[in-house]
Amino acid sequence: MHKYIGMKKGRFVLLSLLLSLFTYNILAQHDAGYKKYIPSYDISVAIGDPMLASFYTDGYFLFRPYYDPKPFSFDDYVFGPEEYAGNTYITPVISTKITYQAASWYKVGGVFGYFGYYAKKHDVFTDAIVRRENTHVFLLMPEMMLLWLNESIIQIYSGAGLGIAITMKEKLFTNEPSKNGLELSLLPTYHLNIIGARFGKELFGFVEYGVGFKGMFSAGIGYKFVK
């Protein structure tokens, strides 16, 4: 019972912190006086979950976390490298976006994003790191947004973007640098922002829910440049 109350308390504190972020911003900017400056530019930084992006770029859609990469054959088992995989870490999708609001109901912008996987292979006898296998994915995506609500301290919008992802897979061997390799590939990217909400005037925070490379859920901050 106490434990449950403790968890609820923790959630309440975290939620309060998040909410207070935006209200604090809004209140802090209250004195500046708001005007719907159009046209205007803004720049923002966001963090999103890498769930869909990782499925696409790793090649094992949906089943990847459950796939057991055992060697396929006796040959692989017996004569394959005597190593084992350490944890594979994946970063969130970190993206920055520049937007231009030309009218009260739409904006256009460009997104540049990054996420990566970081994995190590260890020697099965000594535990030493024998190689690192890192994947870096860079996203470039033009985006368009339609504003459903464009008020002084809040904007509600949807959007969509299409672009490309540049994938760099590198293998770095600890003791045999001559075997290091880098593999480059391109693949199309997309993001459908189902609904997004932005709070604040010059300095603003936003949250978005959608489907695509930027993450199902993303949040961030930005700054609006007004003339």
């Binding site: 912190l17 998040l18 972020l21 604090y24 911003n25 802090a28 900017q29 930084v45 963090i47 999103g48 979950d49 890498p50 990782s54 976390p65 396929f72 054959s73 006796f74 040959d75 088992y77 017996v78 004569f79 005597e82 084992y84 995989a85 350490g86 944890n87 594979t88 870490y89 994946i90 970063t91 969130p92 970190i94 996987y117 994995a119 260890h122 099965v124 006898f125 535990d127 300095l203 925070g205 993450g215 949040a219 961030g220 901050i221």
Partner: protein
């Protein structure tokens, strides 16, 4: 106030970042003896093919021949239910699956249980997946050298050639002791997915073995309860792996192997029967 707001925002973003970066795939447990275990598993599978798939048929056939006429049909139904038994001529018998002769048995018209008897037991179908690796037939020479004790030898194809040179002693209906040595050829790599492009007429990996201590099986070669075996898996490019395995039967139906590989030892449980592939 604005500066504080920015700092506060950055702090929250840092928290969000920390929560959204994640471990994608958990670390695997290091298994230094895994190669040795895989070599043993392969030997176990191939030895089973030789002993239960072929040699036990010869012993069963001798039992069938030694059975009284009135009992023969019952023995045939029990031990050769899939086969048709045909007397070809002068002590030569054939075991047929449909119209195909699978085994050709030259019995010299004497029981395999008589000391001094020598049988030629031929597997007549092409056996590129057989551990003795042959594109034509595999002929076992089985010689009874003592009471319920036989020397078994066979030479297959491959370069180097595959062979077995074993001594088998029967201690009960399903109880056997085995010693000797041999070399198996592995061609199709026991893959999850059968890859036809890998199919060739030569073994890819060779598996040499020597039974350093007599191996004992109490259930028709399905498990080994005792024995020490030295195993060497190698390819023609010079790549090789060597291991020594002790077969254990801690209790009842519990079987295990102690795998010694590159200076590391580990006991692998085999109960219930454990399969890699």
């Amino acid at each position: 106030m604005k500066h504080l707001s920015v700092l506060y925002t950055l702090f929250l973003l840092f928290i969000l970042f920390s929560f959204s970066s994640c471990i994608y795939e958990n670390q695997r447990e290091p298994q230094p003896t895994q190669s040795g275990k895989a070599i043993y598993d392969s030997w176990h599978t191939h030895m089973f093919t030789v002993l239960q798939g072929d040699i036990l048929k010869a012993l069963h056939f001798s039992y069938y021949l030694d059975t009284q006429e009135s009992q023969k049909i019952a023995v045939e139904d029990s031990l050769f239910s899939l086969f048709k038994i045909r007397d070809l001529s002068n002590g030569v018998w054939g075991l047929f699956l449909g119209a195909d002769k699978i085994y050709d048995i030259n019995t010299s018209t004497t029981s395999l249980y008589h000391v001094g008897t020598e049988w030629i037991f031929k597997r007549t179908v092409s056996s590129s997946n057989h551990p003795l690796f042959s594109n034509s037939e595999i002929a076992y020479t089985i010689t009874c050298i003592a009471d319920s004790t036989w020397n078994i030898s066979a030479v297959g194809d491959g370069n180097p050639f595959c062979y077995v040179s074993l001594q088998l002693q029967q201690l009960g209906p399903t109880q056997f002791d085995v010693s000797g040595e041999g070399r198996f050829g592995i061609q199709s790599l026991n893959s999850y997915y059968y890859e036809t492009e890998n199919e060739s007429n030569t073994p890819v990996v060779f598996l040499s073995f020597t039974l350093e201590e007599t191996a004992k099986s109490r259930n028709n070669f399905q498990n080994w309860s005792h024995g020490i075996i030295s195993l060497r898996a190698y390819k023609l490019d010079g790549n090789e792996r060597v291991t020594q395995v002790q077969m254990l039967n801690p209790s009842g139906d519990v079987y295990a192997v102690k795998v010694n590989y590159k200076g590391v030892s580990k006991v692998w449980s085999l109960s219930p029967n454990y399969y890699y592939y």
